[in-house]
């Protein structure tokens, strides 16, 4: 059995901390909270870099996601006030050369509001950047998922599509790490999967509806492997379970090669994939599972209202076992989100809880 041990606690939020985001490139950590602020930390030095709070948001901030691309770090923040704000480091006199990690994470450095995106009718529940940073997806209690096309400088945000397939709140949206493939989870207990139409890039095809969860699906995450080797998704739900879903057949997807998209050679018109529930992970949680995360080594972590963090590993295809359980990770408070961070010294976990803290955990396998 592996050991999960606390390595650091980022205090500061004065209310529930809802979710976190770790930057793909830099050791940057962002956390958002009901206290209406977003805090940025340097994961190496554990230093507070900035607090993004100039009354941009009038209500709780629910979701945050770093843009994976761009010379300068930037991120999207979604709030219950129905708006999304885009923030970035001031571009030092526009020089093109990639900035150094130190510059990116320099504390007290100037972070400025680049754009505020309005469109949703009410609470924004999740935002997510596509792997190439070209699209931003957002979802809301208004049952819709919006897709925004943007540019390098985050100046333009054009809504290219509004998806309204879910019958209830859309709780979460996430992109596949390597392809234009999208998963949305909802209060209607289902997960829906979308791919970009190969002919009309602005069109998005609902290729599958995953049913099986007995309650709200709070969160989902894709397996971090090349889509050619198959696509899998794990999801956490109010029914206290974590499930693995597998794509067993479907059209080939356009994938990401050095930053630009090439349309697939083989043209299929199959507008639907076939997906199956491959596994239900061993049940440990005794409360809603609010968050799941799949790391590049194939480990899955889940966090729940019961205060537990659980790590699972796959022993054989579709066969999973629990490798670690940590109780009361945020005291007696609920845990709202869990996320992997590939730190210099191995895989670590970042959790956020109702106590307003963000905890950094090391995992000794």
């Amino acid at each position: 059995m592996a050991e999960i041990s606390l390595s650091h606690t980022f205090k500061g939020h004065s209310d529930k901390c809802w979710s976190t985001s770790v930057h793909k490139k830099y050791p940057l950590l962002a956390s958002v909270s009901s206290d209406k602020t977003c805090r940025l930390y340097n994961l190496n030095t554990k230093q507070l870099i900035a607090i993004l709070d100039d009354d941009t948001h009038s209500k709780a901030v629910r979701t945050v996601d770093w843009k994976p691309t761009g010379d300068f770090p930037s991120l999207a923040v979604g709030s219950f006030d129905s708006t999304i704000s885009i923030w970035g480091r001031e571009d030092e006199d526009g020089d093109e050369m990639e900035i150094s990690v130190t510059a990116a994470t320099a504390s007290g450095s100037e972070w400025s509001l680049m754009a505020v995106i309005e469109g949703h009718e009410n609470e924004v529940k999740a935002v997510s950047w596509s792997c190439d940073g070209e699209y931003l997806a957002s979802c809301s209690r208004d049952k819709s998922v919006w897709l925004w096309e943007t540019d390098e400088a985050n100046e333009e945000f054009e809504c290219i599509n509004v998806i309204q397939d879910h019958s209830q709140d859309v709780k979460h949206v996430v992109w596949h790490p390597f392809t234009k493939f999208l998963a949305t989870s909802s209060y209607d207990d289902t997960i829906r999967l979308y791919k970009q139409d190969s002919y009309d890039y602005d069109d998005w095809i609902n290729v599958a509806v995953l049913t099986g969860h007995q309650g709200t699906v709070w969160h989902s995450d894709f397996e971090k492997i090349d889509p050619d080797q198959g696509i899998r998704l794990c999801s956490g739900s109010d029914d206290e379970t974590v499930r693995i879903w597998k794509r067993v057949s479907g059209a080939e997807l356009s994938k990401q090669k050095n930053g630009e998209a090439i349309p697939s050679v083989v043209r299929e018109d199959s507008h639907s994939d076939e997906w199956v529930e491959e596994a239900m992970l061993p049940k440990v949680h005794t409360g809603p599972v609010y968050s799941v995360s799949w790391n590049k080594n194939g480990l899955i972590a889940s966090a729940s209202a019961d205060g537990r963090i659980v790590v699972y590993e796959e022993t054989a295809k579709g066969v999973w076992r629990v490798v670690a359980v940590k109780e009361t990770t945020h005291g007696i408070f609920e845990v709202n989100s869990i996320e992997w961070w590939s730190s210099p010294d191995g895989e670590m976990l970042v959790s956020a809880g109702d106590d307003g803290n963000v905890n950094l955990w090391s995992l000794s396998l």
Binding site: E123, K125, R141, K171, T216, A305, G307, T328, I332, F333
Partner: protein, 211 residues
């Protein structure tokens, strides 16, 4: 809450019939022995000498009035522990007033003592649960959600966070039981609701009868 009253003529319980902790009849006799001790203490509290004070031996320590040492605060440590029980929860929420009647949820029997279950590990580091089943005044009462929300807010403000609050409609008490239950226990929705000025006003009004 303008417009027509949804349930114009609810059955109302007399306040004197609502369940209470009847200190009057139980407590006294329960600590009967103690009350005698209290009586004695009151008599002795004004003495400048310690009860043990044998005046023939004169040690400084003995004439030190007990009140001014810290023994007493030690004694306080021994004080009994009152568990958080159903009655306590009932007292917290029965005083909430109904959004459309000038009556409390207790009087309207929306909340009932027997429909409250407390699972408390009695340990500040352990998580427990409070389960409340509410009975709307009529099965199509569109205010059920609002009432439930009021109860949740009241409890989230009053109970230690280690107690998870679960609010359900009593079986068969409402047409759309499941939807309401799902809403009432959806963390995000509740939080969002608590940021909604209009809603908050109504809830403020509902809770105004609680203190």
């Amino acid at each position: 809450m303008s417009g027509d009253i949804i349930n114009a003529n609810p059955t109302v319980l007399d306040v004197s019939q609502l369940p209470t902790r009847r200190e009057k009849y139980t407590k006294e006799s329960a600590k009967g022995g103690q009350s005698d001790i209290l009586l004695l203490n009151n008599l002795l509290s004004l003495s400048l000498l310690t009860p043990s004070g044998d005046l023939n031996e004169n040690k400084a320590g003995q004439v030190t009035p007990p009140e001014l040492t810290d023994d007493e605060t030690e004694a306080e440590e021994e004080e009994a522990e009152d568990p958080i029980d159903a009655q306590e929860i009932y007292d917290l929420i029965s005083s909430i007033s109904d959004p459309e009647h000038p009556l409390t949820l207790g009087q309207l029997a929306v909340v009932n003592l027997n429909d409250i279950t407390v699972t408390d590990p009695r340990d500040p580091t352990k998580i427990g649960e409070v389960l409340i089943k509410i009975t709307p005044t009529i099965t199509h009462c569109s205010l059920a959600t609002l009432i439930g929300l009021g109860i949740r807010v009241r409890l989230e403000r009053s109970l230690p966070p280690r107690l998870r609050i679960k609010i359900l409609l009593k079986e068969g008490s409402h047409q759309s039981e499941n939807q309401v239950n799902k809403q009432l226990n959806d963390k995000e929705r509740v939080c969002a609701a608590c940021e909604n000025e209009q809603l908050l006003k109504v809830i403020t009004h509902m809770l105004s009868t609680c203190i």
